[in-house]
């Protein structure tokens, strides 16, 4: 652990023509910290996530990241090769739609092993052994190792995505609505798994969700977004139990209705 942030974001702004995707977002994220970005659809939370993961380039602003060697680097000044290397080693991205985060025609073992092969592992037996271990950790029956995710349920696909991302021991994981569209019981099991892995591995996570219950269960801090701007931010319990902004109060109360 370190006193300097893992990720430092300043003035991040994205315009789509005249429309504002997100505006003037600044925050620091520390190692092992889970930050939830909440808001309704169209609030800019997904745009922000894509900017942070460098899948979109911002109109203005900067993102700095502390590399494994301790050096703070400007992500936007990195070469594409460096950024892609970071993305498949030190970062993870768990997508809402598992078909975008997995290779649907490749076996579960191959999906988990891909990152290992991408960083140069060339021993089949060891790659398979690691994939086996990770399937166990995300509670997928290991005799499914040679099945493709096409045959998997929604919950299993998300768990496979998690294994595929965590196999290289990343320090920062982005999650985009990872539990949406799943049955309540499946969702609860997945959230439990994520929470355990996050604390076990000391992961920093930035999770985008419209579901405040997910934010409450997983995150240390919450950022509330509306119309592309961060309108309230703070410790999760504080923001959700005692919101200052009217909009946040409405968000919270709609959760209470559910």
């Amino acid at each position: 652990m370190s006193d300097t942030p893992l990720l430092s974001v300043s003035g991040l702004t994205k315009h789509f023509g005249h429309r504002i995707g997100c505006a003037d977002v600044s925050f620091d994220l520390y190692e092992g910290e889970v930050l939830a970005i909440v808001g309704e659809s169209g609030s800019g939370k997904s745009t922000l996530l894509n900017l942070l993961a460098t899948e979109l380039s911002p109109t203005r602003g900067g993102i700095r990241y502390r590399m494994r060697d301790g050096a703070m680097r400007d992500l936007l000044a990195m070469s594409e090769a460096e950024r892609r290397f970071l993305l498949r080693t030190d970062w993870g991205f768990v997508r809402q739609d598992a078909t975008h985060g997995l290779r649907m025609n490749v076996s579960a073992g191959g999906n988990v092993g891909e990152r290992l092969m991408a960083v140069g592992q060339r021993h089949y037996g060891r790659i398979r052994g690691t994939a086996f271990d990770w399937l166990e950790r995300v509670e997928i029956e290991t005799d499914r190792i040679d099945d493709t995710p096409k045959a998997f349920s929604g919950g299993m696909r998300q768990r496979l995505q998690i294994a595929r991302n965590l196999v290289t021991h990343p320090r920062l994981v982005f999650m985009d609505e990872p539990t949406s569209g799943l049955d309540a019981s499946v969702q609860a099991r997945l959230l439990d798994l994520i929470r355990n892995l996050v604390s076990e591995l000391g992961l920093a996570v930035i999770i985008v969700t419209h579901d405040l219950a997910v934010a409450r269960l997983l995150s240390h801090r919450v950022m509330v977004m509306k119309s592309g701007r961060v309108i309230e931010t703070g410790l999760t319990d504080q923001v959700l139990d005692d919101p200052r902004e009217l909009y946040t109060q409405l968000l919270v109360s709609s959760v209470l209705v559910v």
Partner: protein
């Protein structure tokens, strides 16, 4: 040189030499030179319509047409044989449009156009082998997006290639890919030698001849210059291996060559014989005799006359 194997006729009038116009040939030659300069890199080119269907190797035909000179001697093989319809048609095409000499003898040819096989006789300096390629992109089957595969090549992100081999072993217990087996060229680009059998991959390594690959439908040319390192991808615990055959060729007794299974009669009799028909014939001429040579009908021995 035998009268049978090398013939020479004047080109038919009405065609430019080797069918393509000079400007097109210059464009293709520029692509070839670029391909030679960046071994294994797929160079886009403006593929032309040829008077034959795509499946007949129009990419290879365009490359051959662009490098052929009046003094060249052309050999065309398909599945190792000079006598298939495809090989005969392409040979006829160049005889008609360029009037070049053609041959079935590997040693006599200056340009060899092939689909599937590399001749058993090692190619020498000054010889050029032109491969007809249907699908040039080795990453295609896992990554259908062309923009993404181009990026993967540019950044040398080749983890995906091993995912394919991983899947092979997971499914079959060994690397079951037997043709179009991916190779790394000159320590940099991953290349599909498609559709040659992996048996021929080692022949590409440090070959003295120039290797050119043409994909007509996909509009790509790539190359391996003489004496270039070509490595077949594998795992430490599943090393690359070529196919082995338990018996020698039934006709010429050759060992360590690629064999085809041939049905001899309607009673289910079968034998394994050289896929490279020219190499097989040459060995028989030298007196090598396989176990079934005496019992084999002439047509199966490839003793029909060549076009």
């Amino acid at each position: 040189m035998t009268a049978q194997s090398a013939t020479h006729t004047a080109p038919e009038t009405g065609y430019n030499f080797a069918y393509l116009d000079e400007q097109t040939k210059r464009m293709i030659r520029r692509a070839i030179l670029k391909a030679i300069a960046v071994p294994g890199y797929q160079v886009p080119f403006a593929s032309r319509e040829m008077p034959m269907p795509y499946g007949w190797g129009t990419g290879g035909v365009q490359v051959t047409a662009s490098i052929l000179g009046p003094d060249d001697v052309l050999k065309v093989i398909d599945q190792g044989s000079d006598d298939t319809t495809n090989a005969v048609s392409i040979r006829k095409f160049f005889k008609r449009t360029a009037g070049v000499r053609t041959t079935t003898r590997t040693g006599e040819a200056t340009v060899i156009q092939t689909r599937h096989r590399i001749p058993e006789q090692p190619l020498g300096e000054g010889q050029v082998i032109v491969y007809q390629v249907p699908i040039p992109e080795p990453l295609r089957f896992l990554e259908p997006r062309e923009t993404e595969t181009r990026k993967l090549h540019a950044l040398a992100e080749y983890g995906l290639m091993h995912v394919k081999l991983y899947e092979d072993i997971a499914r079959h217990g060994h690397i079951a890919t037997t043709y179009a087996y991916p190779v790394e060229v000159a320590g940099r680009y991953i290349m599909d030698p498609s559709p040659t059998p992996k048996f021929d991959n080692p022949k590409m390594h440090m070959m003295a001849g120039l290797q050119l690959f043409g994909a007509g439908r996909e509009k790509r040319i790539y190359a391996i210059p003489p004496y270039t390192q070509v490595r077949s991808l594998d795992f430490e615990d599943h090393p690359f291996r070529i196919q082995t055959f338990s018996h020698p060729c039934a006709l010429c007794a050759a060992e360590g060559v690629y064999l085809d299974e041939v049905v001899m009669d309607d009673r289910g009799g079968r034998m394994f014989v050289c896929s490279d028909t020219d190499s097989c014939e040459e060995r028989r001429e030298q007196g090598h005799r396989g176990a079934m040579l005496a019992d084999t009908p002439a047509a199966l021995k490839g003793e029909s006359s060549h076009v």
